[in-house]
């Protein structure tokens, strides 16, 4: 064990020197780099095995495919950071897309307010999740498992087996799904925007930092006077809003919307978040990691189609990637915790 001489100035040694003494911080950095390395390895593997893989066009295509998952993963990140999770994300997406486009299809006057309505719906659904988890103290897995069914049930009830067809969508939403801005699909920019916005909120606002604080050390959060109920409520509401936006974009992209839209996507979203290095224990990870996680999943899907590999292997590879990701998380977590909780008992004089 080393003793830092307190009188010395801030460490100014080489890059590695500096990380040598701060293993926890290093571990977290490595964890994020790890996702990128994993993505890089995937890219290299596919580039070697699938000649068509490394083209600009294919890159664009992968980004476009991952855009909606990125947004949904950004919302999920908010919740996972607090040490909870949201299994109802697919249902929120489906419900929002269906209801919003159905309403705007029938009442064209509503068309300009599509986004606003979606945000409202998402906020309400997320708020309900938040109340269940925070005030009613229902473990998040149970609460959102319940709302997964309830929200999905509600949308099928509402839809009554009808479909919203692409013609009913507001023209500007349809245009958006086709738009290309600066050589990339508008969706990619929007996803980048949402991720950046969520990232900004998480990094730069007091609320965002309290999400991390709560997940990082709930007891300390209490000592610091943070209200865990309010933070959790905020996280779920935010996640609901972001999921609603994802749903809206998914609906506009798909065109023909039925009440099943987005079902089952929660597992993909969780996978993206976990692979992206957002710790399932809460408190660590970034929304950018989650976005990279989404790209990783899209890359796997793309590469395997390029390689003409059977669907089954996709399931296997994705599963292995998740397990590997949490394995790395566990090691990182140990490092982080050991750095702050170890109490030095003996004197070690330099």
């Amino acid at each position: 064990m080393t003793t830092t001489d307190l009188s010395t100035a801030p460490p100014t040694g080489s890059f590695l020197d500096r990380f040598g003494t701060t293993s926890g911080a290093l571990a977290l950095k490595v964890r994020f780099l790890g996702v990128l390395v994993f993505l890089l390895l995937l890219v290299v593997t596919f580039t070697i095995t699938a000649p068509r893989f490394l083209t600009l066009d294919n890159g664009r295509s992968i980004l476009f495919s991952s855009a909606i998952l990125m947004i949904a993963a950004a919302g999920q990140t908010l919740v996972v950071l607090t040490g909870n999770l949201d299994l109802s994300v697919g249902s929120i997406m489906g419900l929002t897309a269906y209801v919003v486009f159905d309403l705007s299809g029938e009442t064209t006057a509503l068309q300009p307010f599509v986004i606003l309505i979606a945000v409202l719906i998402g906020a309400v659904l997320g708020f309900i999740n938040g109340v269940l988890v925070s005030f009613l103290e229902i473990p998040s897995i149970v609460a959102t498992l319940g709302t997964l069914s309830i929200y999905r049930g509600s949308v099928s009830f509402y839809a009554d087996a009808k479909e919203v067809t692409s013609g009913q969508l507001p023209q500007y939403m349809r245009d958006l799904a086709m738009a290309n801005w600066f050589g990339l699909s508008a969706y990619v920019w929007l996803a980048a925007g949402v991720v950046a916005l969520v990232g900004l909120v998480l990094r730069k606002t007091p609320g965002g930092r309290s999400l991390y604080a709560l997940g990082s050390n709930p007891k300390a959060a209490e000592y610091f006077g943070l209200s865990s109920n309010r933070i959790i409520l905020g996280a779920y509401t935010g996640a609901g809003v972001v999921a609603a936006i994802a749903g809206l974009l998914l609906g506009a992209r798909v065109g023909n919307i039925n009440s099943l839209l987005g079902s089952g996507i929660e597992l993909q979203v969780l996978a993206a978040v976990v692979i992206g290095g957002v710790s399932i224990w809460g408190g660590s990870g970034s929304v950018f990691g989650a976005a990279v996680g989404a790209i990783v999943l899209a890359t796997i899907n793309n590469g395997l189609v390029l390689l003409q590999v059977q669907e089954y292997y996709r399931l296997l590879i994705q599963g292995a990637a998740i397990v590997a990701a949490v394995g790395v998380d566990a090691i990182v977590r140990k490092k982080v915790l050991s750095a702050t909780t170890r109490r030095r008992i003996m004197e070690v004089d330099a």
Binding site: I138, F157, V326
Partner: protein, 336 residues
């Protein structure tokens, strides 16, 4: 009185089952028909087996969402072995062994490596499903040789073998938890893993056994699947884990671990089965069924808490802000 308090959740379930029975029989005149009750019960055997498998895992404070995929591996493997004419007993043992192996994989990752169970089993959920498809190939298989179907299709007198299997497994689970050291360790580990370790219990071993049991029972469910449906495909039981978790939680098993009983799970299965059967018999649209099950799940946990909060508001606030899990204590002491 003490017994009544100890089994208050089960009593509540029994009352609810009674109400559901009345409701269902009013909803549909066909409900109280013996054959119908039997065949409906048969339908829930597969979910019940997975629920009893999930029970120890949740009791230990963990979760396993990969069980339906394990079932699929079991069913397609069993079908494959049946196709190859492997002796029935050998085929069954092989499937159970593979179920155990898959459970062991989960258990090792969760208990030995200390990884979060939700994420681990999210991974193996996909991986095991992939294995099931690899075994099954593109097409499913149809099994018609009766000797392979006894567990799912056979009958002893008027009672289907599969129901007997479920009841035996349920009784076994109840006995395992109530009368064996494993059961005692399970509650201990789920209630307080640190104290359990300090008491010389192998927390890792206990959790691993839980996962292995879950795997074995899912494998058994796969065998029954083949018996009941005389076929197997890679996508068998896809999506059924939500129902299984609902049954376990509704059965009064705390998702945080440490409490819950097999009887509760059985009663929850009966309750869910009664409601769903009633609604299906009345041809209630599927959407309402989804809604009702979701609401039931949340209500089962949310309502007691809500009552507690309301009661707490009425009393002068004696606050325990310590942020510990002793938040539940006041209610318990209040009741006594």
């Amino acid at each position: 009185m003490r017994l009544a308090r100890r089994y208050s959740w089960e009593l509540l379930l029994v009352v609810l089952i009674g109400l559901a029975f009345v409701w269902s029989s009013r909803l549909s005149p066909y409900f109280l028909n013996r054959d119908n009750l039997v065949s409906s019960a048969e339908f829930y055997v597969i979910f019940g087996l997975m629920a009893f498998g999930l029970l120890p895992v949740i009791l230990h404070g963990e979760i396993d969402i990969s069980l339906a995929s394990t079932l699929a591996v079991g069913s397609v493997l069993y079908a494959k072995l049946a196709d190859d004419g492997v002796p029935v007993i050998v085929a069954m043992l092989a499937v159970l062994a593979v179920g155990a192996l898959l459970g062991l994989v989960n258990g090792a990752l969760v208990a030995v490596a200390g990884l979060p169970s939700l994420a681990v089993t999210l991974g193996t959920l996909g991986a095991f499903r992939g294995i099931a498809f690899l075994i099954a190939g593109d097409q499913g298989s149809v099994i018609s040789e009766d000797r392979y179907l006894v567990l799912g299709d056979g009958e002893i007198g008027p009672v289907p073998v599969s129901i007997i299997v479920l009841l035996v497994v349920g009784a076994g689970a109840a006995a395992l938890l109530a009368y064996t050291s494993f059961g005692r360790y399970s509650y201990a580990v789920g209630s307080n893993p640190e104290a359990s370790r300090m008491a010389g219990i192998s927390v890792i071993g206990t959790k691993v056994i839980g996962y292995v049991l879950a795997g074995v029972l899912s494998g058994l469910a796969g065998i029954i699947w083949v018996g009941q449906y005389q076929s197997a495909r890679g996508d068998n039981a896809d999506g059924s884990i939500l129902f299984v978790i609902t049954a376990v939680v509704l059965g009064g098993v705390s998702i945080k671990g440490g409490s819950g009983r097999a009887v509760g799970v059985l009663l929850a299965l009966i309750l869910l089965g009664t409601i769903q059967t009633g609604m299906k018999l009345a041809n209630v649209p599927g959407t309402s069924q989804t809604l009702v099950v979701g609401l039931l799940l949340i209500a089962s946990i949310g309502v007691p808490k809500l009552v507690q909060i309301v009661r707490g508001l009425q009393r002068t606030p004696v606050i325990t802000q310590s942020g510990r899990s002793d938040a539940a204590e006041p209610a318990a002491s209040n009741a006594s």
